[in-house]
Symmetry: none
Subunit: 420 residues, 2 copies
């Protein structure tokens, strides 16, 4: 197994001024290339921190990718630290110097003198060309270990990785990367992490040699399956087998794979059926509508929605009966049904969903606590509403109510039992 | 100087499936508290990697914060690794067990047995309470070093840091942090990073010894100001002086501070004026509505909104004239004005906003490109709409149109000139 490590250099990452998206990009690319990242370290622009990381790399890792600290100013110390560590020296690379000069000339900018320093590279290194900037990448090999230093600017670094670094590493380590790695993520909603875990029974049997991670969020649990095998076919079969077992034990909760969203999946189902949707939202306040509209092309099936945040709007616009509000209250199964029904009539859609609840923190009564949400459904065949108890946090209640409403629609469209 | 380190646990971060936003959050919070993070490490759910990081922490760092690996399933190994490292044992904490049981009971879910394990904590530790989930945080002190283990789910971890961990650490290390660090973030919208920079003139003069970072996003530029001084008063004065200068040069673009959102600020202004708002959204699809409703107590001033995603809905529900749609099209100044006007009548509100545009990727024509958005405003005194050209990305167009609509309302409420 090839062992890969990333060193991200920069105070701006450590103090949270920027999020380390470079490391995420590198993680994806190296994983896909069968050289998964085992360790990522973020350090400041400090020589001692860098030297100690280099020492750790030489001891433990086949590949070390360093991003950042390659610019032309005084606080960019990756190159000096590399030559110090390897007992090398910096020399001017004439081809890089012409590239840097041409870069400025093409942009009709006088080159600041400090940029001449960008043509300095370690004597015992190869250059990784930077077609989108002036800082060259550096490739150093020492005792079978590879160190690659790249600029931290994402649009400079990314093509250097894809076009030069990964192919070069694959070639160098071809004999060591015998195995094939595959990954699949299965998306579930409507069931908690631990209930899902229990449904799976004997987890080792289910996995049959794959690895699986449970990744919970407020709106569902993602299952990431990893397979490692001699060849692609074998890895793919291993994953397919896990997928089938997941579907056998908990298929009704599975709504998609990889980066799919529930609103995307529901949209595809509506489009397939040439059906249309409308909404009447109260406690979710437009969140379901905005999720549906976030999907390109949603105007094919989404007619629109009403956010009836006041009782007057519920009565005047969507047609909830005054008597219903008086007798049962705005947060009730009855009001939710009348809202869904009213939206379906108002927009003339095939399906309608509604939400009414107490998102919090205010608005609770003895019988109606924060987190109580009623979700209504209406179609030509049936109308009903379900009551849910979510939690204490307003934002999460809104998220969970939105996701649950979409899940009710998904189950109705697929004729799966409605039970949570 | 207090030395702080973060250990983020999880394959999903290493392989780039999720971006390490937790580390960015922690970086910000610890920087603001005067205990800046010196090193962040991402490792997999592997005991040996964890033990070797703990050894490094004990040697070098005052504070080690570990996120992730605290859930109830087989791949969550932070707690076992901690007790192994410190030669401790896991014992059931009865208070945590009741909390976990109550958590399920309140949600009317039968607690899966595996969750009993969440009440296991190291014997020599204190519990950091998790009010938004079932996995408790763990606080361990050993030879003057502090280890804090927290769940990786952001909405569980973040309040634990702000409400419990940072205050507890500040108390413990108060004697070691000699200097006072203060930070303030000023929020602007409606002006770009470089235009803002130019308005400030001589930046060193403006800063008077403070540091400032420009943090641009699609919807505005945040200005983060940092002061370091002998005492709180001095640091606070330094920041106040910068704030005054920013307001002098670019005050009309400043809408708030710290974590305030534009929807929160607009809500406060509406409440002060006892005024009400309604919406008619097309291209933003409910995004403005959901932003407004995300603010607790928004039912005091928000009556509701309509998402008129089809032309029929624009005509039938909100009262746009058929002839307007025919002559000018759905994406036009005229339609935007009639939508805002119609919403104000329908809901009986004091103010109304509307949006209609081409969010993309489809829907463009020769004269109406992707990114064209018309935003309408209506009050008893005036009705108008403005045309904007945003970019090519659907999600960003929706964000920017939503933010701009709210900014128009803010300026109207404060009687600031409407110019962008």
């Amino acid at each position: 197994m090839i062992r890969t490590k990333i060193i991200s250099v920069g105070d701006e990452i450590l103090i949270g001024q920027i999020v380390n998206t470079n490391a995420a990009f590198l993680g994806q690319r190296f994983f896909a290339a069968g050289m998964p990242v085992e360790r990522t370290v973020v350090i400041s622009d400090s020589e001692s921190a860098m030297l100690s990381e280099f020492a750790d790399s030489v001891n433990e890792f086949d590949i070390t990718v360093i991003t950042g600290g390659l610019g032309p100013t005084h606080d960019d110390i990756t190159k000096p630290a590399l030559v110090k560590f390897f007992g090398d020296e910096l020399v001017t690379d004439q081809k890089v110097l012409s590239h840097v000069k041409r870069f400025f000339a093409e942009r009709k900018i006088v080159m600041p003198e400090v940029n001449e320093g960008q043509a300095l590279v370690p004597a015992n290194s190869e250059v990784i060309w930077n077609n989108n900037g002036t800082a060259p990448g550096i490739w150093i090999e020492s005792a079978g270990r590879v160190f690659v230093a790249l600029p931290g600017v994402p649009y400079e670094m990314k093509p250097m990785i894809d076009e030069q670094v990964i192919p070069k590493l694959k070639e160098k380590f071809s004999s060591k990367t015998g195995k094939t790695f595959l990954q699949k993520t299965i998306l579930t909603t409507g069931i908690g992490e631990s209930s899902l875990f229990e449904k799976f029974g004997n987890i080792d049997e289910l996995l049959g040699g794959c690895r699986m991670a449970f990744l919970p969020s407020a709106t569902g649990v993602r299952l990431r399956i990893n397979a490692e095998a001699e060849n692609e076919q074998e890895a793919s079969d291993m994953i397919e087998s896990v997928k089938q077992k997941i579907n056998l034990y908990a298929g009704e909760y599975v709504f998609g794979e990889e980066e799919e969203t529930l609103e995307l999946v529901v949209g595809l189902l509506l489009r397939e059926r040439k059906a249309t949707l409308s909404l009447a939202e109260s406690c979710t306040g437009g969140e379901i509508s905005s999720k549906i509209v976030s999907v390109a092309g949603s105007s094919d099936y989404y007619l629109g929605g009403v956010c009836t945040y006041s009782n007057e709007a519920k009565v005047n616009i969507i047609g909830v009966q005054d008597s219903t509000l008086e007798k049962h209250g705005a947060v009730s199964i009855q009001t939710a049904v009348e809202m869904a029904s009213g939206a379906r009539r108002l927009f003339g859609s095939d399906y309608a969903l509604s939400t009414t609840g107490i998102a919090g923190p205010a608005g609770a009564t003895a019988s109606k606590p924060v987190g109580l949400v009623c979700i209504g459904f209406s179609s030509a065949e049936k109308e009903y509403a379900l009551e849910f108890s979510f939690g204490n946090r307003r934002d999460i209640n809104i998220d969970r109510a939105s996701q649950r409403a979409l899940e009710i629609l998904r189950r109705e469209l697929l004729k799966i039992r409605i039970i949570f």
